[in-house]
Symmetry: C3
Subunit: 472 residues, 3 copies
């Protein structure tokens, strides 16, 4: 700050405000839940609060220390007006246009459903009172949080508006109430802000449905192949295996399939770009949607992998397992065979476990780097390195892990009960495809041209150029 | 930015500053540790630094390249003065009022204990020199961080002050030193900022005490019931079981009790609101305090659950367990009984494990969503969905898990050694109560009226209205 | 906001801008990948975009709805110009100085390698056109993110520049595009911003190399001691143990050594400060570098500890282990010995497991608190409490865990095959040293003087004072 700009700064902060900034008066329209909570909090933060109400004398209990008066009177007093009223009641505001002219008007409203109105509440409000500086804020904060202070999901106040000055005023109030403010730009972002409190994991829906679908399918498939089969063929009831053995078959299957599904779209996109020779043509919608939920696919898959690990680790103290082991020991005893260690088997099972452990380890790493605070701290070169390089490593390790599990069972016909392949074989199809395709894309010549395309190079394309010509 | 505002912007940034902004001069009062570290860092960031000292010629070594002079002289030179002096020495500043008039005065001071003074240091300072623009900043940053640059807990500089301009100046300096700035509003937040560096997990104390208490209680209870009992009654020394077996009994017990304690206050609050017919009466303090530490209760409980999982998973390779298994196998052998698999037992134990695994899985999910960066990214609808819906699911799964563990033992008197119930039975009391109460609250009619109350509706309450009347 | 400042705010937001802020025109120099992606996104956000190009009529396909014209013409139209051109082409801008005078010039450029130029691109640009307000921004965002909107590592736009006004304009655009902006101060930070996208975990390199080195060393050491040894001496092939048994020996060894290495520098620094009697002398470079990668050392060590846990937990269902157990059971059977439980062994092994579990538990806690979002929420008192107190607790528990593992093996010569000590003994050296040194530093008198030094006190040092004298 240079010396000459100093006097101005003095001018901007008259000692009056510096000495007693607490005494600022704010106005709230609406005495509903939101209005009350907001008023309460403003009082605690040291503001004076006046309510504007249609029926000033019969609007129910309000925070002690506040005043209630007609909208017009209240609006006159304050330079900042919070609007805690349902959108459908906005029309009464038009009559207040003169009083609200040049004032900061904070739209706190939310709708009960998405897309009920053509334009956002805030923009509608701005249209009603063009003279006011409408700012959208606090609508992402729950009334509960306003009463009890910021916490967890109620720490950030999202703000948007066209007038920087007005926004600054609201930011000051919000920070004073203890919230962290995130500026979302101009009023055109209002719709987004109004949809925020209504959303319930939209980006997770598709992946979740997929996960549920896969789980159900494979569960029934395996129930039939294992439980029903052995009941029909051998008349044995092994239904008790559903709780753990089957669960521990379904989890890894779903996990690896979803992991593959998380890397497949990337490969498809690359092939598409190679085929089209440009990156500037939009992808088909299904591919776009697919690519946007890769993260969720990956995290869900990690969840299933986690369950798989737990289900595996409890194996040794299952009653059934202990029974089997004791039985086999006794059998060995009886047969009086001097057992020898099958080192090949030892090698195979041990590497099978090792691959699983390493795969899971890298997978956990992927999960950690996709935490918002971690990924924000990474440069995108670092992030893409982790997510693609380590991601494919995970996929490879897990696939290898599954192949080692299958080992030579692939050949023995006894595994194809009722002519159906075992679950893990089905689960191997997708991952294998993805890995093979990825390998093809890594062939130097292919890789080179793909890189060039990704850097913006395009195969010359006459009718495209002509299109461009028309535009000018 | 519209064209017409352009000239002004040019005016605001004279090319001088644009060309050489490095050469700005800042003043530091106080040559102690904080003063030195701050000066050093400012120099590195390209500022010129001048120190104000009472004894300019005998104030020990200062960063090379800085000057030392009398307070008055130093204050005259700079428009921004850092105050790195203990509060009790502030009085000398009054004499400097004229030189500090209109200057930005950054109060960096911290106290050694909380609540020693009636008002915060910064507000006291503002009172001493009403002409200066006092800004509280950098007090939450350690001297070490100032010497070595921002890291982990020393990245955010909290700032508060009454003059926006002055704050902006300080923000500029802080960002230039590489810190991220968080504006905490007006000077009235100064006390909070000054207490920040002193606090040591205040919100964790109560839950931690509780956890320690519960652990100790149940530990001794179980030592008596198991070790002492079998020593007295059967003369067997099974003290070796303390390290794992007992630990693995205490952990889950404490975990599930604390989980229940984390959801109990919510239920109590709901009942209270139903009974009062309003949400605008304050809860009793104990309930408020309880509700504010729910998160900590939950996380501690998760910690115990985590230990429980680890303790369980190492069971199979405990020396004692292997010994027992071998013994039982040999016994079977000797008796020459052809053992048959008890499928009911298999069913029960397997579902017991399954419930535990699923419960733990959902629990981990809860833990992840309570990470600051994750919860900040969620809308409060999403957050409350996860924390309440999934939270109760966790509680249910874990309770069910414990019931399956008990199974039919509840009836056999042999379990009530010395007429005391086993630990897991005691641990089941609270969770069961919470779940039952929650179920009652979910009964449609109850749920409906509760929702209405939570939306701000109130059972008409005459004397409350009259109170209101008195207020106006 | 006080009433009197209100009119001004009205003045600053003419209704024109409030009504239609969308129609703002922005200019982009350069029609490459970055330029196109940026233009596309700006269009979507409701800006009008005009491109400046050397060959306006042959610059390939551009986003529909944009115009292309000569640099001069384009510059005239807009008050904000994005510069998406390689640094080496900057010279053509000098001719445009008059048109760019007083305009906001956003430098988006990145270099392909670090430190190729003496000064940062942005500073070079400012030198070329002193009349423009150069702002460095968007260079940390990938073109892909510009096309598809902010995500993970592409959410934060880092901005720096000398003119606050100009910066504010860019911030407004960035927030409108949906990015979160982080102000990095003056243009002198430009180099840092330009190096950001190029970096690939620089702070992790050293620790990673160390980890790889240690792993390799101990792996070969153990292969020779176990596999090769038993092959040469007993002619037995136990190579199958490499996959799990050896891995599970290497992991914990590397983990505990790196944990010790993470706390060693702190101890060394303390001793150095005690010896020098001051904290104001710089540490030798190697120590500085070491201290700065402590966090990474700790996290890598945690990774190895995690693998160790997994490798341990799968032990019971390894083929080899089951074989051994069965064999031993059968042996017992044959010998017809009535085995008795060795309670000492039970005590020892159980406490061995317990220590491991508790150590791992606290370790996980350390890992969680080092997540950016968590550590930012902590005061540095809290952070240092966790990292140092709990850190040493972890080190102690893990070391104790290892000693319990060794137990009496230290003495029996049979463990020193080929006169080499087993791996875990080697791994115990460093941790033991660190713990002992730390204990010495905790001796009251030592601790007291260290604290005084850390608070800035210095042992009087004549020639230092004289140095100081010269400075003034």
């Amino acid at each position: 700050m240079s010396k000459e700009s100093q006097p101005e700064s003095v001018l901007l902060c008259p000692l009056g405000t510096a000495a007693a900034p607490e005494t600022e008066l704010l106005c709230i329209f609406g005495t509903g839940d939101m209005g009350r909570s907001l008023g309460q909090r403003l009082l605690q933060a040291g503001y004076r609060v006046v309510y504007g109400s249609r029926r000033p004398h019969s609007c129910g209990p309000l925070p002690a220390g506040t005043q209630v008066m007609s909208h017009a009177a209240a609006a006159k007093l304050a330079t900042l007006v919070f609007l805690c009223v349902h959108r459908k009641k906005y029309d009464f505001l038009e009559t207040l246009a003169p009083q609200l002219n040049g004032k900061v008007l904070v739209d706190v409203s939310n709708n009960l459903k998405e897309d009920v109105y053509p334009e956002s509440n805030a923009e509608y409000l701005q249209r009603l009172i063009p003279g006011a500086h409408v700012v959208k804020a606090f609508n992402t904060i729950s009334a509960w949080a306003l009463q009890n202070g910021p916490s967890d999901a109620n720490r950030q106040v999202l703000v948007c508006g066209n007038c920087a000055e007005a926004k600054q005023t609201v930011v000051a109030v919000a920070t004073k109430l203890g919230f962290a403010v995130l500026d979302n730009g101009s009023l055109s972002a209002a719709r987004e802000l109004e949809e925020f409190p209504l959303r319930l994991f939209p980006e997770w829906r598709l992946p979740l449905r997929l996960a549920v679908g896969l789980t159900a399918t494979f569960f029934f498939y395996l129930v039939i192949r294992d439980v029903v089969y052995s009941y029909v063929e051998d008349g044995k009831d092994i239904s008790f295996r559903i709780m753990v053995s089957l669960a521990n078959k379904v989890c890894p299957i779903v996990a690896i399939i979803m992991l593959a599904l998380c890397y497949l779209p990337g490969v498809v996109a690359a092939i598409l770009q190679l085929y089209r020779g440009t990156k500037y043509k939009r992808f088909p919608d299904w591919l776009d949607r697919w690519m946007l939920c890769r993260k969720q696919l990956g995290l869900l898959s990690l969840g299933f992998a986690f369950l798989h690990v737990l289900y595996t680790l409890i194996i040794p103290f299952r009653h059934y397992v202990r029974y089997r082991i004791a039985a086999s020991t006794i059998l060995k005893m009886r047969e009086n065979t001097t057992a020898v260690l099958d080192t090949t088997l030892a090698w195979r099972t041990d590497s099978f476990y090792s691959m699983g452990i390493l795969g899971f380890g890298v997978y956990i790493l992927l999960g950690i780097t996709s935490l918002p605070s971690v990924s924000n701290a990474l440069s995108w070169r670092e992030f893409s390195f982790v997510q693609s390089k380590l991601g494919y490593l995970t996929l490879f390790l897990c696939t290898f892990h599954t192949y080692l599990y299958g080992w030579n069972k692939f050949l023995s016909p006894s595994n194809y009960r009722w002519y159906t392949p075992p679950g893990y074989m089905l689960s191997l199809v997708l991952p294998s495809i993805v890995l093979v395709l990825k390998l093809l894309l890594l062939v130097p010549c292919v890789d080179r041209s793909l890189t060039r395309i990704r850097q913006g190079w395009e195969r010359t394309d006459p009718e495209d150029a002509s299109k461009q010509a028309l535009l000018m």
